[in-house]
Amino acid sequence: MIQGIPLEHFLIVSTIMFFLGVCGFIIRRNLITMLMAIELILNSVNINFVVFNRYLYPDQLQGQFFSLFIVGIAAAEASVAIALIINIYRKLQNIDVENVNELKF
């Protein structure tokens, strides 16, 4: 226990954050806000990894390295997704998901 806070409180916070991200992914229709919801999901997973590392295996660094790699993958994913979004905007003039229904222009 660190500063009197049990492990479960961290896990509950990250769980609620994860499902807020899922909810946002379902209810939003704009591609950029859906990308933000994905960032929320990845971030909550990072919190889980780091907290498990700190509380259960404080003599190792596995959770921290996993979070590092997740942050790197999130950066790569965001850059590719934003390139796609800008390309879609050039072709369609808006970026709602309903309009992106054909692969071939």
């Binding site: 807020l20 909810c23 960032e39």
Partner: protein
Amino acid sequence: MFYMFSGIILICSLLTITTRKILRAAVYLLCVLLATAGLYFMLNYQFMAAVQLTLYAGGIVVLIIFSILLTHHISHRFKHPDITKLLMGIGAAAVGSGLVIATILSHSFQAGSTPELPVDMTVIGTQLLSTEKNGYVLPFELISILLLAAMIAAIVIAKKDKNKNSEI
């Protein structure tokens, strides 16, 4: 301290998915990421918090804000979402989080009794680049190749076509 950070995280992530102005959503996302970095500082993982601040709060949010400015008018407001979608989303989130929280609370975690490893840059650097036990050189190389591929792909996808006169 923890409860302040988690309050910021929960409120701002709720506002991120419900606000109707897209630039505000990005700023709320930035607040969530900063509060997460605060949690990492609280857990005594300074390196992880610094990576969170520079890569997430500094890199990804700036990228998102740039793309918002390229693709939206500032005064643009979203329409309200469909009621069926709203109900489905809230239902999925409520059921899922209820299940997961019930599972977490019914499981008892065994706290590690081993002494804490002092986490400084030397330990992280040697473990990241060692090929011994507890070494992470293979995923390190993999992610460097992945980042290179993603960078080239982003440039190739986003560049304008030279042959055709594009509309913009």
